[in-house]
Amino acid sequence: MKEFLLLFSMARSKWPWLLLGLVCSVATLLANMALLTLAAWFLASMALAGASGALFNYFLPAAGIRALALLRVIGRYGERLFSHDAALRLLAELRVRFFERLAPLAPAGLGTAHSADLLSRMRADIDLLDNFYLRLLLPAGAALCVGFFGFIFLSVFDFTLAMGVLGLWLMVGVFLPFFVLRAGAAPGERQVAGLARMRCLAVDGLSGLEELLAYGAAGRHRRVFARESRGVLKDQVRLARLDGLSLAGVGLASGLAGWLALLIGIPHVQGGVWPPAVLPMLAVFALVSFEAVQPLPAAWRMWGQIRTATARIMDVTERPAPIPDPVCPLAVPECLDLDLRGVRFTYPGVSRPVLDGLDLALPAGKRTAVLGAAGSGKTTLLHLLTRFWEAEQGRILLNGRDIREYAAEEVRERMAVVSQHVYLFNASVAENLRMANPQASDEKLLAAAKAANIEDFIISLPQGLDSPVGPYGTRLSGGQARRLAVARALLKEAPVLLLDEPTEGLDEGGEASLWRTLEPLMHDRTVLLITHRPAGLEYMDEVYFLDGGRLVRRD
């Protein structure tokens, strides 16, 4: 129900278009019903007039038949155009909103969510929602309107017949869909989840192919994938069975409605209650009135899938941000003194805190290094400063005020990070660099590249700055990717420079040369170097050891 309300309220901005689609849809359905009903009456009347030799004004019905035919054709086109346009606009809006809501969650609020699973939500799940508007909401609304008019029309002639046909409409439009919905909910949900798992498996398998082959796990992966795939297919066949049931049910009910018209109408005609031409007219009316309810069972069958998809989307969009911004954030000063006091932090699901009672002062313009073994919490320190995680105890002060009083984005604006794991986007060198500074000119990019000692390489590439780096930067070597990341951080021109193992993956010569290029850039900047290697320490003012969650000064 929650999902239904969300989908319904989302449509608010586009309701005039959806309503227009509805009006067209009702007009189309009514026109077709009227066309065939009128034709049946016309034929009977003409035949009767022919038999009795009486006069019959055939101009009006003949013209009516042609007009209705045109109305139907135009109505159908309008309905499709208006409703599809509105629905697609809604989806586009939702996709952007999904990403905007997702961004504040990363990384603390996402847990171990798989990126391919998030992709499934952002792409396939959202795409699925157009069914809600086009195949569910609109046809249901149209069927309701058509049913209303149809009932009134039938009750003019015979109330019992009207009630009987109404019963059949309800059967096909409500009870059958309800049954199909109940029966289809579980396989529908399983199908969506199964497809999402298959995407994860495919992404995993393709990226880990060498490992899979080397460790003989390719067969196992194939079996798991095949099992998922067959599970999904099985559910799809199950759903198809329900689809078949709906289709057959509609055909049967429509036939029965026509039959009911005969059953009730024949005595009326014989008793002279109805003019004879009414019998074929109502029989045809009853038959064709099912065009309106026909799409409903299959549409409701989709509801299982739609609900799962909506719930998966809401799971992200409705999740509270793990690190909320203050209501009235303070302005972040240009020049920053950072001070960590008694900071304690434990990762979720881990028993021991990684930082415990940590004190560290990072005065503006000073360079500080924190040395520590792997797993000692060095990177955690960085995540706390960049506001990716929140300290559970203690405070981080920024110019004497709690860091929580500032907006996280403002804080990050002042920090440039070269982290241990470089992520490069599947885009050009320039695009990857401009991430840090969208307005930077090519000259500026190359200047930063020169500072990071990678200018020559970039120039040597066939397309220079516009050369693609490949997915995850695979066209670059580890060292080249690292230098590009350094250049990217330098372009940001932030007063605080956070270096997390900046020379990891470089050989000794490269390490030394990178430090030489970093040196002038560290002037007038607050620097925090996090490392386990002794290189670069000579450029630092203070060096601490991180051990057991606390800092020890090195003398």
Binding site: A39, A40, F42, L43, A47, A51, A69, R76, L81, H84, D85, R89, F99, A103, G111, H114, L119, M122, L195, R199, C200, A202, G205, G208, L213, A214, Y215, R220, R222, S229, L233, V237, G244, L247, A248, L252, G255, L262, I266, L279, V350, S351, G372, A374, F388, E409, R412, S419, Y423, P471, T474, R475, S477, G479, Q480, E501, E504, G505, D507, E508
Partner: protein
């Protein structure tokens, strides 16, 4: 019955660029032909019942109105009608199912063939986005469904049922028959005229969708990086722009599709209206009985119904054609460049000889230049050289992920190119620079092949391996120990822990040859010494080849292979 009866839309009027993907789609249907034929036969039978039903209805109404008969007189027919309807419903239900079963069969076959194809050779994939490939394997295959389940059976019915209807109408009324006969061919004709344009648009749209997927995956995987640069809002704008662009393109594809539906609808509706009016005049003049006229009026919509249904499924066909193009491309692309032979040796120890190996990748410019070296069995060899000289590439050549452009790798005197890949993999423990981990437990990621069902002996072997690499110390502080869950790509582990976990996996497998890329990266002091000691103790029993720029590794090595810059760039 042929699997696909030729409708005009499939005919040779035009030869759009996707001609071969049509053939491909039909070829895939071959194994499902019995199921599809059954679906068509049942659908046809249901159609025939509908004609009979209309005939009975017309006869009853005629008898009542014109012969003055009552309910008792037509009782038999009135009773027979519901029986007919129930039979028809059963046929419709069955036909629908067989169509879907056929589609499921085709999807399963295609998907697993595609899986096998994509998973066959790693080197080919290194420059493709995994998001794009996963899309082909999962969603593109799903995109085929409606074609087999609905379009193909409907195409057959669209060719058969109208003829059945005509067979009844012509003897009764020539004019109505002619109206139907002459309007019918226009429907497929217009479908082809408009369809071929829609098809081109739609194919472009499908490629856009794949690109969109890849782009989104990149944004999601790099989300933390985007946040560090406060670029998420800019990225949201980019996403807004590309989704909006995608939407506009979708609408333009739909507009063409709707236009074809419009023409279809126009022809069908107007001819029914025309037939009704003409029949009306015949009835007035008395040259036709009401029974005949009413029967034709009831049949006329049924004549167009299969054609109109085909129109609604035409979009399914377009999507399937576009999806098929993407899938076909994966099959036609040149197969894995790795040359792997068929010999299946079983070696206890491995001595390697690198014989003048060169490798150039035009895309990467990653180059290995004329490397020769002898690596005796049981030695600890180190590949050294400045970054970019192809240490990793050389390891991948020895892993058989890449084939050298020139030169040979000789294993115990045999050419590696002649050894079957799977058999070679039995000998190798591989650890890449960025080790890959699955979402699962630590245990899953060490065992890899076996299910997580453990005997005591296995546990002690696991613990031994963990102690050797230093992972044991990490396990001791984790409350769940081996069963600690980790996320995609080893999320939740520190750099050093990943390194130790990957090394433990390699040690646990215990291949005759260890190929390790930077095993001491991300490690410091004590844990580095542990790993160094582990390397030393592995050597002797195993041949260990390490790519490293760590001077401490050099110190303990038995053999150093130096890679140099080739000097002049090619």
């Amino acid at each position: 019955m042929p699997p696909v009866p030729p409708t005009a839309s499939e005919g040779g009027l035009f030869k759009p660029p996707s001609f071969s993907s049509k053939n491909w789609l039909r070829e895939q249907a071959r194994p499902a032909t019995p199921l599809l034929s059954l679906a068509v036969a049942l659908g046809l039978a249901a159609g025939m019942l509908l004609i009979i039903q209309a005939g009975m209805l017309a006869s009853v109404v005629h008898d009542v109105i014109f012969e003055g008969l009552g309910l008792d007189d037509v009782f038999f027919l009135v009773l027979a009608l519901p029986a007919l309807m129930v039979a028809r419903a059963a046929l419709v239900w069955a036909a629908e199912q067989f169509g879907f079963r056929a589609a499921a069969q085709v999807k399963d076959t295609v998907r697993m063939r595609l899986y096998d194809r994509l998973m066959a050779g790693p080197s080919r994939l290194r420059h493709r986005s995994t998001g794009d490939l996963a899309h082909q394997m999962v969603d593109a295959v799903e995109g085929l469904e409606a074609y087999y389940a609905r379009f193909l059976p409907q195409a057959a019915l669209a060719a058969l049922i109208p003829f059945a209807v005509l067979a009844f109408v012509f003897p009764l009324d020539l004019v109505s028959g002619l109206i139907l006969l002459f309007t019918a061919p226009f429907i497929p004709l217009f479908m082809v005229l408009i369809g071929s344009r829609a098809e081109r648009l739609n194919q472009r749209q499908w490629r856009r969708l794949a690109a969109l997927s890849a782009r989104f995956l990149d944004s999601l995987q790099g989300l933390t990086t985007l946040k560090l640069f406060n670029a998420t809002r800019r990225e949201a704008e980019v996403i807004a722009r590309i989704t909006d662009n995608y939407r506009e393109n979708t609408v333009s594809v739909l507009r063409v599709a709707f236009l074809s539906a419009l023409i279809l609808e126009f022809l069908a509706t107007v001819s029914v209206a025309l037939a009704a009016v003409l029949i009306g005049f015949k009835l007035l003049s008395g040259s036709m009985t009401f029974q005949t006229g009413f029967f034709i009026l009831l049949l006329a919509p049924e004549f167009y119904l299969p054609l109109r249904a085909l129109g609604t499924h035409y979009h399914a066909r377009l999507s399937a054609l576009a999806a098929a193009q993407g899938i076909m491309a994966e099959f036609t692309e040149s197969p894995s460049q790795v040359k792997s032979g068929s010999s299946r040796p079983r070696w206890q120890s491995i001595a390697l000889r690198l014989d003048n190996i060169s490798f150039t990748h035009t895309l990467d410019r990653k180059t290995v230049h004329q490397i020769s070296a002898d690596i005796p069995a049981g030695s600890l060899a180190v590949l050294v050289g400045p970054s970019g000289t192809g240490k990793t590439t050389l390891l991948r050549i020895m892993l058989q992920s890449l084939s050298p452009n020139d030169g040979r790798v000789m294993v115990n005197g045999a050419n590696l190119a002649e050894v079957e890949h799977r058999s070679w993999m039995d000998h190798v423990s591989w650890m890449s620079q960025e080790p890959f981990f699955f979402q699962g437990t630590l245990l899953d990621n060490v065992l890899m092949r076996e299910e997580a069902d453990l005997s005591g002996g296995m546990i002690s072997r696991l613990d031994q391996a963990a102690t050797l690499t230093g992972l044991g110390r990490d396990l001791a502080v984790l409350p769940l120990g081996w069963h600690t869950p980790i996320g995609e790509g080893g999320d939740g582990l520190s750099g050093g822990q990943r390194q130790r976990l990957a090394l433990t996996r390699a040690v646990f497998k215990g291949g005759a040859l260890f190929l390790l890329d930077e095993p001491t990266a991300h490690l410091d002091g004590e844990s580095r010494e542990t790993v160094l000691a582990a390397l030393r103790s592995l050597a002797g029993r195993h041949t260990v080849i390490v790519a490293s720029h760590d001077p401490r590794v050099l110190e303990i090595a038995d053999k150093v292979v130096e890679l140099r810059n080739t000097g002049s760039d090619p």
